[in-house]
Amino acid sequence: MHRTIRPSSGDDADEVRADGGVVSDGPAADQPTEPDRDATTRLKAALDRRFGSDFMESSVFWLPPFLLMGLFVYGAVIWNLLISLTDYERFENAPDYSDLDFEMYTRALADSGFIDAAVNTLILLVLFTAGTLVVGLLLAILIDRGIRFENSFRTIYLLPMSLSFVVTAQFWLWIYNYNNGIANSVIGTFGLGPVSWLGNQDIVLYAIIFALMWQFSGYAMVVYLAGLRAIPREHYEAAKVDGASTLKMYWRVIIPQLKGATISAAVVLMVFGMKAFDFLYSLVGGYRPPNGADILATKMVREAYANLNWAYGSAIAIVLFAMALGVIGPYLVYEYRRDNL
């Protein structure tokens, strides 16, 4: 392959800056000593000294995408914050940025619908994440015990995750159907029910959490499986030699080593949980409040796009963003400390 990378071979000539090879190869420090360099070259040398030798040359690769993504994500979040401070609503063309206040946030605190949605969001996040992790861990441990047809089982468990929320919502509407659904025919064999799973305000949130666990426990399994595979076999054997039972071996030796997998899976699952909007939207058939299971994600979209309370919707979005940040921030610091970035 070495023959293809000689600078003299010509077909890349148009892309090579006159000084490109020199600056990136030599130590950056000797650059600024020459007096008659033009401004860009001096700036480049200065930046390279500050940030590292390839900073400028590599910026062509990462900077444009970084800016595009940054504008669409961080720029939009800041813009969203601004809109949440206005009174923007209805079919006004643009928000009025001259009069900013926190009215929308005080309105949220006085809105029992918002409080309910926030509480439901927290319940969903905690139960869904914890439940999915436990199921995923169990599946991973079972699958990792040298079974046959491992790939087939794994494919089946992960299958729901390849489906859209819109699609899985149709399946679960049918399962939870009062008259003909599977949920009621299963508990019916035990002489229970029928239960109105999606109609009962006290049950619906848990029915939804169960469905979400079905969809994502395969994901937790895959993450844990990778974690289990990273544990040296000797650890299992050492525990066995010490006379630990299988249960004790997992509890004392193996599971503690899965901390990294647990943390990253939990973060991703919480984000999925906050995104459950698609599922709830399809389940209730549109913008209507999913009674008893309204979460911030659905409330935000309903306020903004059905009630046209743009500023209020934006304020709810900022609360949701703050919640996400509370999860992501510590996670990224943790990953950075573990040198995973």
Partner: protein
């Protein structure tokens, strides 16, 4: 890996092998398989129940158990026909933005990850850039939705900018498709970058170092060394991104908004199918769900390995 694909060898040998294994099986093993099979049933029943229901007539739905297949008299393709008629246009529209958005975001992710991995620049600055990019994966779409709507409706009015396209006879509703491509690319950059970055970190430095010492530019190193080695990761990223973009409802909901639009993607029509029917026609819902899921199901069945790699990263 190969021993887990029983279909590849003849049925007779499989059965013989299973019998041999059964003889060796302990009680603990048997329990293990019972649990695994029970779990497999749990994951498959919602899908299976949906599939059989999609072929049932109205009376068969009432008369048979939800997971039982329809009898000969209760079997019908009618719902599938209705669903295909309703969703075919949406399938085309979904492909129209999912394919370009997937390809572009994968390429951009590869380039970005390369720019942040191979070159030598100070670790702490690199970490800041990477953190900002990775955090982008986790930001809920709701936090950007209203500005996004503002941006596309007030600032970048594609239905006017692209008027020369509409002059060719294309409905200007398709501005929504272009918006979806750009939006999905922008929001795809974080995850695509992360996936390629984990891959490039494991790549051998030596070849690249020696090329750099020979005076090769970063661009040349990317094109001649890094890109040709990225094939397997491209498969993972393309599969992951295609599934994500195809399955997303929220962006299509706010950018295309109505299921009656000629540019409506399939998820939007499917979500609307339920709305307009008020949950009555389950057979139609199920047929629609399966039809809409066909592309991602196919991708998953043929490339399950890459899909799993993508979600685990």
């Amino acid at each position: 890996m190969s021993d887990t694909e029983p279909r590849t060898d003849g049925g007779a040998t499989t059965i013989a092998r299973m019998r041999r294994n059964l003889d060796r099986m302990t009680a603990e093993d048997a329990g293990l398989y019972v649990v695994l099979i029970f779990a497999a049933v749990f994951y498959l029943v919602p899908i299976e129940s949906g599939l059989v229901t999609s072929f049932k007539t109205g009376t068969a739905i009432i008369e048979t158990a939800p997971f039982a297949p329809p009898g000969p008299s209760g079997f019908t393709f009618e719902k599938w026909q209705t669903a295909i008629d309703a969703l075919l246009r949406g399938m085309g529209n979904s492909l129209l933005y999912a394919v370009p958005a997937t390809v572009i975001s994968a390429v951009v992710g590869s380039v970005t990850a390369y720019g942040l991995t191979i070159p030598t620049w100070k670790k702490s600055y690199k970490a800041v850039v990477l953190m900002l990019i990775i955090a982008g994966i986790f930001i809920p779409y709701q936090a950007v939705l209203v500005p996004l709507t503002q941006f596309w409706s007030q600032w970048a009015q594609l239905d006017q900018v692209l008027s020369f396209v509409w002059a060719l006879g294309v409905s200007n509703d398709y501005a929504g498709i272009v918006e979806l491509v750009i939006t999905h690319v922008a929001y795809g950059i974080p995850i695509c970058t992360l996936l390629f970055r984990t891959y490039y970190k494991t790549m051998s430095d030596e070849m690249i170092e020696s090329a750099r010492l020979d005076g090769a530019t970063l661009r040349r190193v990317y094109r001649r060394i890094v890109l040709p080695l990225s094939g397997p990761m491209f498969a993972v990223v393309l599969i992951y991104q295609f599934t994500q973009i195809w399955n997303d409802l929220l962006f299509t909901l706010v950018l295309v908004s109505t299921e009656s639009s000629p540019a409506a993607p399939v998820v939007l029509i499917l979500a609307g199918l339920g709305t307009s029917l008020e949950g009555q026609d389950f057979a139609l819902r199920m047929a629609g769900a399966f039809f809409a899921a066909l592309p991602t199901l196919a991708v998953y069945i043929f490339f399950g390995e890459e899909f799993a790699e993508g979600v685990a990263a």
